[in-house]
């Protein structure tokens, strides 16, 4: 059934700091970077920061899992006179796309008029995301997982990738292609952290960190901040930029996914999926659209194997056929035609988390907005619909469909 709030809200402002290699943002602070992103997003929207009266976070309002956002502190820093909506989705980066839906909830409930979603990451030596699970103190639940030495997100993801290879015969060649396509898309982007060409030989020479995943299958480790501002459609028409309408937005997951790789009890086929199938069904029902209707897909790529799984969960290809789909070049962007390759839909035209930057998924939301505005660096011609997804992770995962004005 069509969503009652379809196109009733829009993203009107986007703002980002520079992207820094892990740890290099010091001596800037989290609130310094978050503030820059929010102020730039306000300028982009053509509003005053004092107009912001809502905060819609994800990841439990954590700043890259290693610090916390506090709305009171951000208000005192930036001078918003009052806040009437301050809420967060639970868990981690799975909620990034859904945080825009949370903003919509605040707007449609008339709690707030301009809501900001912000993420800032700063990974000092004692606060590295890749160590996050390893640094966690043992608790009664993780005592069933941590002793195995599956301590990093990549360790956990490799177990799922192995099962995918076993069930469907997917190959390291497909993972290589995902990484190489991402790199190709990043080559012309001034802010991208990895912007040198990558060959198959380079990929195969990358060290195996958790077999079957290599270092290059892991996303970048980045510092920086990104903010987006969401408002109602009537207010959006008075903003500086073309509105990016929120056509559909969902978060959650089925119990078969549940605690996911924090638990490892998912049945097949969920075990080697991205946990997005429940959401894909919801967002396609909400919009009346399907994968084939997307003009571009911004797919959370913290690990290359999870691109493969999401392509299947969203129906860009059938389950188990991600390997062949990817190897046919169907995730690539063709600059000459400003479209897909071999009948595919361009994926991660911004270079994604693998090659551009990893701000816990916010770069995907920004790219979705730029694509439907028509201002992206690797612009897809006549881009009407853009899909952005949240990171495959314990519940919630999330997804967002934007529509051009």
């Amino acid at each position: 059934m069509t969503w009652a709030h379809q196109d009733k809200c829009a993203i009107v402002g986007i703002g980002a700091t520079d992207y820094y290699v892990r740890g290099k943002s010091w001596p800037r602070t989290i609130n310094d970077m978050a503030g820059e992103a929010i102020l730039k997003a306000c300028e982009d929207a053509g509003i005053s920061v004092k107009d912001i009266d809502g905060f819609a976070y994800y990841g439990g309002a954590s700043a890259g899992y290693v610090d916390k956002f506090d709305s009171g502190s951000l208000m005192e820093t930036l001078g918003m006179p009052h806040i009437s909506f301050t809420a967060t989705l639970t868990s981690g980066g799975g909620g990034v796309a859904g945080a825009v839906g949370l903003a919509t909830a605040g707007l449609m409930n008339e709690d707030c008029t301009y809501a900001v979603t912000v993420m800032a990451v700063q990974q000092t030596p004692s606060a590295r995301l890749g160590d996050i699970f390893g640094r966690m103190k043992p608790d009664p639940e993780n005592s069933f997982l941590q002793p195995s030495g599956l301590i990093g997100p990549g360790h956990l993801m490799s177990v799922l990738a192995r099962r995918h290879m076993h069930l469907y015969g997917s190959t390291e060649d497909a993972l290589a292609e995902i990484v190489m396509a991402s790199r190709t898309h990043a080559l012309n982007r001034p802010k991208a952290i990895r912007r040198t060409p990558l060959s198959k030989e380079d990929y195969l020479a990358s060290v195996m960190l958790a077999d079957p995943l290599r270092r290059l299958d892991f996303c970048l480790e980045t510092d920086g901040a990104i903010a987006v501002i969401t408002t109602t459609a009537d207010r959006a028409r008075d903003c500086r930029q073309k509105p990016a309408y929120i056509h559909g937005c969902v978060h959650g997951a089925s119990r078969k996914w549940g605690r996911a790789f924090g638990w490892m009890n998912m049945p097949d086929p969920e075990f080697s999926s991205s946990g997005h199938q429940f959401l894909a069904e919801r967002v396609w029902a909400q919009t009346g659209l399907a994968a084939k209707d997307m003009d571009v897909a911004l797919i959370y790529d913290h690990f290359s194997s999870m691109v493969l799984a999401q392509l299947e969960d969203y129906g860009f290809c059938e389950r188990g056929e991600g390997n062949d789909y990817v190897l046919a070049g169907k995730t690539r962007y063709d600059p000459a035609s400003r479209g897909g390759v071999n009948g595919g839909i361009p994926v991660n035209t911004h270079g994604g988390n693998l090659s551009e930057a990893y701000i816990i998924g916010m770069t995907h939301v920004v790219e979705a907005v730029e694509q439907v505005r028509g201002t992206a660096i690797n612009q897809v011609a006549d881009c009407e619909f853009a899909l952005a997804t949240g990171g495959p992770a314990p519940i919630p995962v999330s997804s967002l469909v934007l529509r051009s004005a």
Partner: protein
Amino acid sequence: MSAHSIAYGPARLLPGDQIHITTNPDTEPFWLAAKEHRLTACQCASCGAFRLPPTPYCPICASKERTWPTLPGTGTVFSYAICSKNPATGEDYVYVPVVVEIDGARGARLVGNLTGCNAEDVRIGTRVVVEWTDICDGWVLPNFRALSDR
């Protein structure tokens, strides 16, 4: 069916003296049984469904009644990774985290390390038997040893 081009060599168990666990009243029966080298899983006493890690309610029927049957201690590798650095020290150290489907406890899995074979010879479907590892604070961890008749 060579899945691996890398010759890793023997799969080792991570040293027990670097492994800590904690328990709560829901999980403690599992770990107390492990101290006696008895593999168990949380089973709903009402509908018979198994669950791990143990939780207060059965997700199928919402019963709080639990039993802790003694299991045969064998199982099958459902999936795995091959890792080559000790996470505690960063030193070269080949270990294989395995997700194991446990015999006699349908739907319940355990995650541990596998030993008794070269890492590159592990397969999904490899049959395993529990191998008890002493860890910190007097607790005992179920790991796994590959059976040759896989």
